[in-house]
Amino acid sequence: MTATDLTTDVLVLGGGPAGTWAAVAAAAAGARVVLADKGYCGTSGSAAAGGNNLWYVPPDPAAREAAVTARLRSSLGLADTGWMARVLAETHLRVGDLAAWGYPFPRDDAGAERRGSLQGPEYMRRMRRRVHRGGVTILDHAPALRLLRGADGAAVGAAGLHRQDGGRPWTVRAGAVVLATGGCAFLSGAFGLNVDTGDGHLMAAELGADLSGMEFSAAYALSPAHGAHTKGLMMMFATYSLDDGTVLDLPDPLAGRDRVAALLAEGRTVHARLDRAPAHLRQAMRQAQPNYFLPLDKAGIDPFRDRYPVRMVLEGTVRGTGGLRIAGADCATSVPGLFAAGDVATRELVSGAVSGGGAYNGAWAISSGTWAGRGAAAFARAGVQDGAPPAGAAGLAAGRTRPADVVEGVQRETLPLDRNYFRTPAGLRRSLAALDDLWRATREGLAAPTHRDRLRAREAAALVAHARWMYTAALARPETRGLHRLTGHPTDPALRHRIRVGGLDDLWTSPEPSARETSTVAGTTATSRAAAAVVGLGTTAAAPDGTAVPGASAAAEAGR
């Protein structure tokens, strides 16, 4: 069995939107690029299955400023105006590229092209083609298991296995690494999200990277009870009812989801019917969200006529906002040579405490991917280190515990609404005790007789680590804010700051220093040898009062 052994300038891990934009940008900057995906670049990840709207505002200064101001308010004070302005500008340019490459955007009734929505299969099929044409070497079904640690602690490549080739090992030595491995949805089955197991967060943490916003991780979405198809936008037309036909009084069905969640948490059955949809819009609804209707059509349900039972499916940090802390304008992490793009990174910079699901995450993936790709290409000019060993071992020691049992154990603490959607300090502590036990078992060793089990073992370790960061950060925020709902603890204006979390065996948290000190937009970063190729955009504006804006978070989450 011959191992793959490659040397390149930039290694991109993950082939969803963020990874493909990073690969395109790095190649355009003159770097040699290898992209490795756990699954298949073009179908893998949350965007390919679902598609998303985009936070897309044409370059009209007043419209851009209004969009940033509105988002800062809905972010409950934790977003960053400089970063938001950058995201709007970069996204607009890159979507222009996508149009030039031939993405078939629709025209509205007035004949104007509308570029604010991307249909997943079409979008990602074209992104793969673009990556390929850029000269990038694509490795499909090539999960990375570990990063390589250079002499100075830098990320200098990765090692993994070829899943469809008997587990044949691969090593890619690189001048810089872009992580674009997605968020973590705990194998909940949510539409297209089972590839998102937090592998990148674990690999990065094993090199010493820290995270931010992990308490904003209780993102759930409604789906038909028989499936896990979490497309939310059409639920703006929903009427919800109980088994006995009692209609829930929810004037705004999107903002009313807490009520639906509370009933489901009590074990009640809740039904939905899209009977608020005007007849003349129903065909347009199908054309807007074909994959909302497909699973219902297949099940023989007409959602305009029939009521169907719903459930809430965890989307974790895919549509929550927490992830690797961004330490520079080039999306550098706190580890030299390691860049983060898309959902693996914290999205607090554009979403603060609320979900960026759909539009905001879609724009973030495009822009952060582009910056990370450029940043990695610049960093890689210092050269490639030889002989660096892989770092990190969680879940890879041989033992007796089955990975599937670890996954089940994590899911017991993370999936139920009464543990994660509605959190309590005592419940979080109980869950953390169970998760600490699972971490110890994982450290002692997992049973992995085949190469596929080895991947599952690594995923299991990543899930445990993720859940521990989530709940440790949650305990450091004794209030309710956005996606962190702590029963009996209302929003506390004194907690209007971000919270960092890190560590593997022993976890730590710390409040982020004031926004002025940490604004990373204007300057270069301590961890990056690359000059931040970004104009100064000033420091973070004073955040508004962190009071909740009713419905803002729900509307944002549904905008996918």
Binding site: T43, A48, P121, E122, Y123, H226
Partner: protein, 117 residues
Amino acid sequence: MIEVVRAGACVACDICIKVCPTDVFERGADGVPVIARQPDCQTCFMCEANCPTDALYVAPLSGPAPAGSPQADQAALEEAGAFGAYRELIGWGGGRTPGSRLDRNHVFTAMLERGGP
């Protein structure tokens, strides 16, 4: 989850084996793909969308179809015209208009911006 591979329609192109993001299929001895790891299926419909001969059916259920379910019954599904539904919706295949050209999301996001329907 993926339930049916129609051997008669399959041209053994291996595309589904390649594009499945969760590595559910194996190549069978006759070249027709076998559903080797159904529990790993995430019901994302990507195999169905990419199958050039509409030989695959992914049921809308997040678990395996119960015994006797029409969702796993090839003849019943053929009768109902259930194969190839997603590919048609997204407009893939010869002579079709890409579904993204018909995208009407802007109508609904504009509604949200106005505060609801």
